[in-house]
Amino acid sequence: AKAARRRRRGEGGAAKAKATARRRPSRGAGPAGNQQGFFASRPAGRCAMDAQVIQFDEGWSQIKSAIDQLIEILWTPGKKRTALFTPTQYMEIYTICYKMCTQRSPLNWSQQLYQKHSDTIEQYLRDKVVPVLKEKRDEFLLKEMVLRWRNHEIMDKWMRKFFIYLDRYFVKHNSIPTLHEASLNKFRALVFDEVRTEFVSAIIDQINKEREQEVVDRDLLKRCIAIFGHMGPALCVYKENFEGVFLDNTREFYAAKAQDWINQDTLPAYLIKAEAALHAERERVDNYIEANTKSSLVKVVEDVLLAQHERTLLDKEGCNLRTLLQDDKKEDLSRLFRLFQNVDNGLPPIAAITREHICSLGEEVVARRESAMAAAKTHKEKEALDPQFVQSLLDLHDKSEQLVSEQFQNQSYFQRALKEAFESFVNKDLGKTSSAELISTFCDRILKTGGAKLSEGDTEQYLEKCVRLFTYLSEKDLFSEVYRNQLAKRLLMGRSASDDTERSMIAKLKSRCGAQFTSKMEGMIKDLFTGNDLKKAFKEMARTDPEQLLPSSEGHTLSDAGPSDMIIVDGIEFGVEVLTTGHWPTYKQVDLALPEHMVICTEVYKRFYEAKTQHRCLKWVHSLGSAVVKANFKRNYDLQVTTLQAVALLAFNATNDWLTFDAVVAKINVDPEVAKRILHSLSCAKHKLLLKEPMSKSINRTDKFKVNDNFQSPMRRIRIPMASLDESHNAKRVEEDRSNAIEAAIVRIMKARKTLSHRELIGELFKQLRFPVTPADLKKRVESLLDREYLERDEADRDTYKYLA
């Protein structure tokens, strides 16, 4: 068109110059005056390119005929919609329009043309389009609308093309809507608004049909929704007219569905349907709804299907959450979690039921143990129940952890549910032995030689699991006490399977409870470690300076021969293990009367130790010592015994006669209770080294003992075990430690707060103390501190305490 224009300009340059609208087109309509004089005849088929002025009616009638043509094409179905005008045709109309807009006032027809543009569209829409639309319903309405809109787009395009000059200057300078805006407004006001309600409901009907599994024309729906977008900027028309209605409708639809499903379906079936519905709705949006609506839509469906009915669903008769948990329905549980994850407060009720479930399983384990304990007759049967119990707890923990991590994605509510559940039944009263003890003993079996036979990986795993179980204990200090005693035994009797494993276990406990908790345990291991250096030094001294250890004037011999941790005194190999008091449990003091040659050994060591250290005092713990006694019963045997047993046996060297119980007691200087244990192991157990009269199974003070000359055994080296003298732990000590801890806490709190009411103090203590206490326990400690004048009561208010510096 530009090229054509240029050509034409060339042709009638001068004349054109006059008519050229380099000046502004004037407002107001020019008089439609007598056109005869100015009208140039137009050669048919060719654009008039001359200085002739165009009158309004004339120009308009030409333009109008083109528009009519356009309308006719649009109105006739089946006609092709592209390239409706040839470039030549187009240029003709354009030029007329152009000229009419650039003529000098009063012949400048911009205003009129602008008006005509608007009016034509309006007329077309009102007279032709709307009536047709209003006849239609449902899907037909939708189709018609899409068609009419498409047509309008084409119409708008051509109208714009024809009248484009108006857009450039007239519109701009007068701040009025552009041609496009004007035509859109017409469409919206005359067509869209007229049928809007029916349009929206027709769409929604289709959607509901699709929801009921009927096939609908998605493409049609997509186009319909797109129309909303065209009707106004930023989807405002869409939001105002469609979205709200759509969401409300969705809500109604699914509310009804929910009712049906609740009545007919089990929980898992309901969930499957809900999930499918959500999926369908999401997919619907992806396909033909505006993407912005997705999140609100999903929220509506989630609310109606899930949030509103959560309680009913979870507690449904027949198959509900509890049954799913009991039957381990993994997929259903995962689905439940997935769906309720997005619902506000959807997860806590599920977590609560899960906790109850785990609790009840745990309580079952405890109940089983109780009934098994009641039913078990022998001591051995009862003992076997202990590891079984711990194993059941570990298994339950594994299973629960798996549930939480697999089905519930380790979400925090569920982790807490697991923790609370375990804390509740792990601390249940089991009678004589507490869970703390049982778990520690379980670990003991793993850690000692000859205990459970596990690979290194398995050991590590088991210990890790035990530590996790340990974290649920409220009486952790009791565990520590028991564990310490067992650790000591393992270390001193050389029964620890692996040093590394011991350290690793302590490290685990340390990371859970802090260094103070494990400091004594670490101290024990360290003692043995430094003990090695001490042993080397002892041997060294025996080698380099035996005089200092054993003056030869006393007529004894000493040599540094023998194993690495022993020396030889008078033919007796002997070695010492030094323990730091405070790290180790307290052991029963036994003032054993050692035979002379053993006394010499202890004195040798004492001299060494005093030379090596200062300000230390050695206390012999004979109850922990061991010995190998060479015995001759018809042939030689090596008897592995405890020091106590050794001394008892040696007492029989003096005579071949019967010795009474009391005589033995007097000779070796032990408590009768201790003597009973010693003599029992030597006369009533598997290897009867001593004869007893009478031959009963237990030791009485009236018994008599004699060496069993007829003793024999196929083995040369025999171990004679003895019952332990000490309790598995010192319960009194645990009590004492707790009392001290409470008092320390009271002093600490009162020092900081200076004045505190009784109730507040008790509250603070409950927060700070790490083991179970009753208010009465705390009161007793307060009273003790009152008496010792750490605290006093306030003069004015006897319920308040004051700190006494």
Binding site: K779, E783, R793, R798
Partner: protein, 200 residues
């Protein structure tokens, strides 16, 4: 009254003194007398204490000490509504302690309490004393001594209700907590309620 060679009035002297005054050794008036003397320990008086007491009472002879105005004055100190009673009560504890001890033995407390608290008219006093006597533990702390008096006052005035007694929130000594439990179990509380209502 001193023993020969001693400067203090010992047990024998005490017995004679009591006889001369015409009172039993366990008469509470002796406590009042000790209080006035600011005697340090039960069972004997030092010269200083004796002199101090006589002076404060304005007596120069035993006869004057025995006279009724003086006796009345002494006894009045034992009346619970006397403003000095609390002082005397607190004094009695320290006085009853063995020398260099901080607390008194249980059986001493059980004998001393009624001497001072009987006039208050607490109906369950005997039950309490019995309970203390057969409880564990060797002594009665000063705190318990003082707090029990407060306890009785509050119960008698109706300020403290034994029905709604809450051992966890109140800071009464554990002995009292335990006794209240005991009393509840044996349905003894009723006696107090009635009495308190009469008074209040």
């Amino acid at each position: 009254y001193c023993a020969p060679g001693e400067d203090d009035i010992g047990l024998d002297g005490m017995m004679r003194l009591c006889a001369d005054l015409g009172v039993e050794p366990e008469d509470p008036v002796m406590i009042a007398l000790s209080f006035v003397m600011k005697a340090e320990n039960l069972g004997y008086y030092t010269r200083e204490e004796f002199m101090r007491g006589m002076e404060r009472l304005g007596c120069a002879t035993i006869a004057e000490l025995k006279s009724s105005p003086v006796q009345t004055r002494l006894r009045s100190l034992l009346a619970p509504d006397n403003s000095h009673f609390y002082e005397l009560y607190k004094f009695a504890y320290g006085w009853a302690c063995e020398p260099a001890q901080r607390s008194i033995a249980k059986d001493v407390a059980v004998r001393l309490w009624p001497l001072l608290l009987r006039p208050l008219g607490f109906p369950l006093l005997d039950s309490y004393l019995e309970f203390v006597a057969q409880s564990q533990g060797r002594g009665v702390t000063r705190d318990l001594w003082i707090q029990f008096y407060q306890f009785v006052l509050q119960v008698m005035s109706g300020r403290l209700s034994l029905d709604r007694y809450d051992s966890e929130s109140c800071a009464w000594p554990v002995m009292i907590d335990d006794w209240v439990d005991f009393a509840k179990q044996h349905n003894l509380i009723g006696a107090v309620k009635g009495r308190a209502m009469d008074e209040g």
